[in-house]
Amino acid sequence: MSDIAANAPATGRSNSIWARRLIPDLATRRALIAITAALLVWQVGATSGSWLGTPLPIIGAAPAPDAVLTAWTKLLGDPGYWQSWVSSLLRVTLGFIAATAIGAPFGLALSSWSIFRGLAFPVFELLRPIPPLAWVPASIIFWPTQELSIAFVIFLGGFYTIVLNILGGADALDPRLIQSARSMGASRWTIFRRLILPGVLPSLGVGMETAIGVTWEVVVAAEMISGGSSGASASSGGGLGFFIWNSYVGGAYPNIVVGMISIGFAGYFSSALARWAMGRATPWLKRT
């Protein structure tokens, strides 16, 4: 790909026949050109110190793409790097499951029982504006172990998102559907099981996709803060966030970028997995 891209003009149109034959889709061609151009700018800018004499502002200080690539190939053989992946993935998975397992029933309860809603929702709404990361010091104080304190912060991130999405979905259910069901003699339990639960699935799906993104953000930051500040060892702290922070502290700057891109991939695949799973659970949403 880089050969072709290197031969393509750096700006504008690639209407030449060979390009059109190779990559017929216009959108893909444009995307490839833009990405390649960005990589070139990055490479040139990052190495400006050497070929220009003085480094360009901001981009001159960045690690160059080739340095990043070299660092990454080296890290692929490093078990510590993969351990960071596993630690972060575990935290995200567990935090996400906890947020869904507690958030979904909580959201459904809020929508089903007005008394519960009147009591619980105001407290929920007062706590929600506090960013999960602001809870980190309090969390470290309250929870007995460091892992639990990180887990709590991660849980909060996903919890708010899922509750709000489920509540919105349940509130938006067409009341005529419920009315029709009642007319036909459905019990309250049947209505819940066969109307409300499937009805909120799409909203739950949206909530889960968003929550995974939020969870990743919180994981990375929580790992940086608690892993870095308390000087935790790789076994109790760790994770990709800690890896990034550690690389910064240790001066291995290309590793920072490796960590960033790794998290980007991990987040993307998590979201894609959630989206796929929800797509399987909601077959009626597919357009023919």
Partner: protein, 289 residues
């Protein structure tokens, strides 16, 4: 006047309204939607309510179905007061209320399953009805994979499986193209002849109304009341295309239209004095010239 099926069927599903009133809002600022509305939809007969848009007919439907309670007055089904929704009166709405996450088949079977009825017998009935409406090949489809007309047919099937005493249809064929509407009307008229039940049909289309009705209730503008009751004594079975070749049909149509026109004008000029003045001036000019 009645067809062969009706003579032997038990007369069930009679709907009676007595001085029904419905208003919304706190007492002092209440908006009266329905005021002193009384009528009877006789058992096993086709009663059609026709009235201008926004005239509270849908509110009446909701009250009869039991989704809301009237502010005052009585609504009776077979002599019993309406206390809430029930399988004896099923509603087919203007916009589809099919369950989007269930297939056509599961939608149709929802009622029997919800009541714990045997799937063997209800399954056969669903097959039969789906066959009659031509949806057998689409039984596993989801509602959003069906066209508007197919959705309406599926919804009719879902209601009819439960064999309600009364069917309440609130502008169910609105928005369908002319061809589909005609087919649906003739289909439903035929079905009602074969399986008699009390039908209460709401529409704004006079042709539709006269085609279907045994009795036509012409409704007023808000606050809703019955302005006129017209017995539609046209012979059955009726053919939609030929209906208005008949003098009697046209007579009924003119009668209903003049009342509807009056009521619609009230709605039109009701809000604006300028519009009212215009209407008055136009009327005078027509009378003079």
């Amino acid at each position: 006047m009645t067809t062969q099926g009706k003579a032997n069927a038990p007369a069930k599903g009679e709907i009676v309204l007595r001085d029904v009133c419905k208003s919304y809002g706190p007492r002092r600022f209440a908006t009266g939607v329905i005021r002193d509305c009384s009528f009877t939809a006789e058992a096993n007969r086709f009663t059609v309510m026709i009235g201008p848009s926004g005239a509270g007919k849908s509110t009446l439907v909701r009250l009869i179905a039991g989704f809301e309670k009237p502010s005052s007055g009585q609504i009776l089904i077979d002599g019993r007061p309406v206390a809430g929704p029930g399988r004896d009166r099923l509603v087919v709405f203007q916009e589809t209320a099919l369950f989007p996450w269930m297939s056509v088949e599961d939608n149709a079977l929802f009622g029997p399953r919800a009541r714990g009825e045997s799937e063997a017998s209800s399954g056969k009935l669903v097959d039969f009805l789906l066959g009659k409406v031509g949806l057998l090949a689409f039984r596993k489809h989801f509602p959003n994979q069906l066209s508007g007309g197919m959705q309406r047919r599926a919804e009719l099937t879902r209601a009819l499986v439960n064999n309600p005493d009364a069917m309440i249809l609130d502008e169910p064929f609105r928005g369908l193209d002319a061809m589909m509407k005609k087919l649906m009307l003739e289909y439903y008229a035929k079905l009602s002849a074969e399986q008699p039940r009390t039908n209460l049909f709401v529409t704004t289309d006079i042709d539709e109304a006269i085609f279907l009705a045994d009795r036509l209730l012409v409704m007023s503008h808000i606050p809703t009341q019955v302005r006129a009751i017209i017995e539609v004594d046209l012979p059955r079975p009726r053919r939609y295309n030929d209906l208005f070749h008949d003098d009697r049909a046209n007579e009924i149509k003119m009668q209903a239209l003049s009342i509807l026109h009056e009521e619609a004008m009230k709605g039109f000029s009701g809000g604006s004095k300028a519009a009212g003045d215009f209407m008055e001036a136009y009327r005078r000019r027509v009378a003079a010239g």
